[in-house]
Amino acid sequence: MSILKTIWSKIKEAIIALTPGRVTLPYPFAPREPEEGFRGLPHVDVNKCIGCGGCANACPARCIRVVDESQSERVLVFLHERCTFCGRCAEVCPVDAIEMSKEFELSTDDPHDDLVGEYHIFMGPCERCGRCFETTSALDRLQKTGMRRDSIDRKCAIACPAEIEDEAEEKESVT
């Protein structure tokens, strides 16, 4: 009887072992999408970027470098080799130019060259001080929200082309 019992238990085990089927993923030979909310390599939309450098400020790994190559060109260098994919840069971006993609197959033999994102942002330099600021489109945006050029005070005028600052100075001299 005990032998029969053992055989029966083995048959039951075999049935249990056969039911789940194959669980192993065919992964490297078939693609697999990551689940919702996965953060992979950050993608930057250069045409949306205004070059404020907020992402570089917020990055915990300090992997975003802001280099002013010339007076009118700012380069954001993303060193993804030490990026921790935390998504802070995408969170703080005021124009939502950075988006965390679902790319995770980042293995490489040369991370110092392959895992680099280089984005050239056009900046308009002030005609007086030479510092970079947002392009003229920022001024357009101010006008759209109801501000008029002559209502921009002196503080704003520091970041503006020279002609507007001149107007502000003229106003002050009158009053």
Binding site: V44, A61, D109, T135
Partner: protein
Amino acid sequence: MIRDWIVKNILPRALWVYHTNCGACNGCDIEVLDTLTPFYDAERFGIKMVGSPRHADALILCGPMTRQTAPAVRRVYEAVPDPKIVFAIGSCATGGGMWHDTYNVLGGADQVLPVDFYVPGCPPRPEAILHGVATALGLTEKEVKRVTGRQINRDVEPHALPEEEWLVHEQD
């Protein structure tokens, strides 16, 4: 060249791996263990964990290279017989991660040892580790490359873009 030939022709038959933690937070170690479970099953490529570096063909390094562990990891590297292949798993081992400029971290694993393959991620998914190993063995292709983006000169044509794109920021 000879090294590539060795890696692609001799090692893929059965890659025995020795796993070293050189200062990691254990996130990458758990993902490495996850890769060996039946769900991901690295053993179908002949990849197997071994308990001694002298039995290993490959070395897996997790975590930033700290000042304390660097000499020990160096000794482990020397104990692995040639030909050997070294993997750096995680952002910390690849470039130093968040700790790249702290006082007790020397940087990524490549500051101390010659590393052959890097798998960034914090931590990398088990699939990413599998992809890294498979790429090193020549089973799959490398997928990343340097990205260079150039902005169109908005000063010349500021309104060339469709109007919706300019309005996105104002609504919130």
